[in-house]
């Protein structure tokens, strides 16, 4: 598992208010909290910075990600730092500060551990369990859990099976089994392995030659060059003509674990989703009104949004209706200068603006047909992400 431990520390006193080990315990929480507060104070003094800035401390095989809140500081021990994990850390700190704001002024026993447990499960464990995730039951699981639901489940299922297979065998809804598996994961009685989704977008982070390693097929080794951070895995698999998509996904998972590839940040995935949607919409429009008018629609819609969202000026149309995002904008997204929610809202506004201009050009009913056609195309290309776009707002 990527995340090893979570610590939430009160900045004023350096006391560890909450901690949880997702795997084997590594650090003493009080020792760690003192160390982190001391180090961050030292760097603040040295850099003469007014506010404490986020840092990461790297060890062998682990990284301590530090994120300051208003009156707390979050520390996440991970195997490898990613923007997604940093976003999760920010969110969990915010939730903690909202739920236990009293602790800012007084030290009280508020049953923090039991009351904050659901929030930590929601943030760090729930997204690891999917219907096609493989559950691997630990050998001595009985010593890890006393939860009756978990015990009942683990007594009945084989040592390794998917969540969906377990639900089918036990004749339970998949959602119920997923919930129990999450609790089992929390108790450290099982591990889960999730294959990347076929429409997930990955980018290569290492350019070593992996073809001779013996662990990977030739197609997967060639696929590294195609992982450009814009192409879904299903399309990459088609390009390298892989015969077994499941094996391809398992090998990508292997490469991700060894940090040779990584899943793109949420913001970057959103850009891929919306540029694909916009391009498909404009292409369909161009077949009806021609390329010149389709370009006019895009530029007019974008012009109307530039005052409030100047960075939309970096979303351009190349030849005909090829939507292109400038590298400076991509860089800002990767650095986290633009939040995924702001990105989503702005790109959705651009798409809606284009749909509105199109309505003036060809009428309401044809726009609905074009929007539905684009939705179908996006669902085929990026099935799990298509739901992020508010399609109904394009034609209602």
């Amino acid at each position: 598992m990527e995340v090893k431990s979570l610590y939430i520390i009160k900045r004023a006193s350096g006391v560890c208010l909450y901690h949880h080990d997702f795997g084997e315990p590594i650090f003493d929480p009080h020792l760690l909290s003192s160390f982190i507060v001391a180090m961050t104070s030292f760097f603040d003094e040295a850099a003469l910075a007014g506010e404490s800035k986020a840092r990461a401390f790297e060890g062998v095989g682990y990284t301590l990600m530090v994120e300051p809140g208003e009156w707390t500081m979050g520390v996440l021990s991970v195997s490898h730092e990613t923007a997604k994990l940093r976003e999760k850390l920010r969110r969990i700190i915010k939730r903690f500060e909202e739920q236990f704001h009293v602790l800012k002024w007084v030290d009280m026993d508020l049953a923090v551990y039991s009351r904050f447990e659901p929030a930590v499960i929601d943030e760090f464990l729930r997204d690891q369990v999917h219907p096609d995730s493989v559950i691997r039951v630990k050998r001595d699981w009985e010593y890890f859990t006393r939860n009756p639901d978990v015990v009942a489940l683990l007594n009945l299922i084989p040592k390794a099976c998917t969540v969906q297979d377990a639900a089918k065998f036990l004749e339970l809804p998949v959602e119920v089994v997923m919930e129990i598996v999450v609790e089992a994961l929390w108790d450290r009685a099982v591990t889960v392995q999730s294959l990347p989704k076929p429409d997930a977008i990955y980018q290569a982070t290492s350019f070593e030659d992996v073809s001779g390693s013996g662990q990977l097929s030739e197609e997967t080794a060639r696929a590294l060059a195609e992982l450009d951070g814009e192409t879904p895995l299903s399309i990459v698999a088609e390009r390298v003509k892989t015969s077994d998509i499941r094996r391809f996904l398992e090998e990508i998972e292997l490469l991700a674990k060894s940090h040779k590839v990584e899943r793109v940040p949420t913001g970057q995935a959103l850009v891929v989703l919306y540029t694909y949607s916009l391009q498909d919409f404009l292409l369909r429009l161009a077949r009806v009104v021609g390329y010149e008018l389709a370009r006019w629609v895009f530029f007019t819609a974008r012009e109307q949004l530039l005052r409030e969202r100047p960075w939309l000026g970096f979303v351009e149309l190349e030849e005909d209706v090829d939507v292109e995002v400038r590298s400076s904008l991509v860089g800002a997204i990767v650095r986290g200068s633009i939040s995924p929610s702001a990105l989503r809202e702005s790109l959705q506004s651009l798409l809606q603006g284009v749909a509105l201009m199109t309505r003036g050009l060809i009428g309401r009913s044809p726009v609905k047909e074009i929007a539905l056609g684009t939705k179908g195309a996006v669902e085929g290309h990026l099935p799990s992400m298509a739901i992020e776009v508010e399609w109904q707002k394009l034609y209602l």
């Binding site: 369909r284 429009l285 077949r287 009806v288 009104v289 390329y291 006019w296 003036g360 060809i362």
Partner: protein, 254 residues
């Protein structure tokens, strides 16, 4: 973005309404009428051709292709009408007339290909349009073939070649009319429907011209040529308006 004004069109539309009756009354020779018809086809034809080719001749763009082929068609029809006008000076007037008809038919075929290509492009993007165009095509083919057969039976004294030629003209004009009607209905609430609203009566006038060409009497020939002139002006104006929209869009953002 606003459509260019169609007011300059009005004097041109009056032309066939004036010269037609003059030719029917025998005041204006038929040869002169054909010549004027050639002019009314060539002027919008050349203007539309110039507008369509302003940003390149060959482009993968259905709207551009339709405009281009309609422009070429107008030019072909102008050549046909000029040829008709010079029939009196030919040694074999029957053959000269036949050649002019073939060139005219080529112009109509170019219109057919252009409009068909655009309709196919629209149908590829709007699924309901597919069934609409298919139904309209079936109805148009049935009605026009039936009408042509009936006319051929009633006017059985006409040469077979004459009957086949005019039958072809009638069927293609009917198809053009229903396809353009379909497109106008689809985009009736949008800006792009307005130039096409000029093209539709132009195609109706073409259909009327095709039907009036059957009997072969001087009076019906005059009416056929006059309605043909009306068709050239309206279709040419529609294409020019559409190209005007496209040019304005190009000038705004390049």
């Amino acid at each position: 973005m606003a459509l260019p004004s169609v007011l300059p069109l009005l004097p041109a539309l009056a032309l066939p309404l004036v010269v037609g009756p003059l030719a029917a009354a025998g005041v204006l020779p038929l040869m002169v009428l054909y010549g004027m018809s050639g002019v009314t086809a060539s002027v919008p034809g050349w203007l539309a051709l110039r507008s369509c080719t302003a940003r390149g001749l060959i482009r993968d763009d259905a709207v551009h292709l339709m405009g281009l082929l309609i422009s070429f068609g107008l030019v072909a029809m102008a050549v046909a009408d000029f040829s008709h006008a010079s029939v009196a000076f030919c040694e074999a007037p029957y053959l000269a007339t036949y050649s002019a008809e073939v060139v005219h038919g080529t112009g109509v075929i170019l219109w057919l290909i252009g409009v068909l290509a655009y309709c196919r492009s629209v149908a590829s993007v709007l699924p309901p349009a597919r069934s609409v165009f298919l139904s309209l095509t079936v109805v148009a083919l049935f009605v026009s073939l039936s009408a042509s057969t009936l006319l051929a039976l009633v006017l059985s004294h006409l040469p077979l070649l004459h009957q086949v030629g005019h039958g072809f003209y009638t069927v293609t004009a009917a198809l053009l009319t229903v396809w353009v009607m379909g497109v106008v209905l689809l985009f009736r609430n949008g800006l792009i429907g307005r130039p096409l609203l000029l093209v539709f009566p132009g195609m109706l006038a073409l259909l009327a011209s095709a039907l009036l060409s059957w009997p072969g009497s001087q009076y019906t020939d005059v009416l056929s040529v006059s309605t043909g002139m009306l068709s050239y002006i309206l279709v040419g104006a529609g294409v020019l308006l559409l190209q005007g929209l496209v040019s304005d869009a190009h000038k705004s953002f390049g």
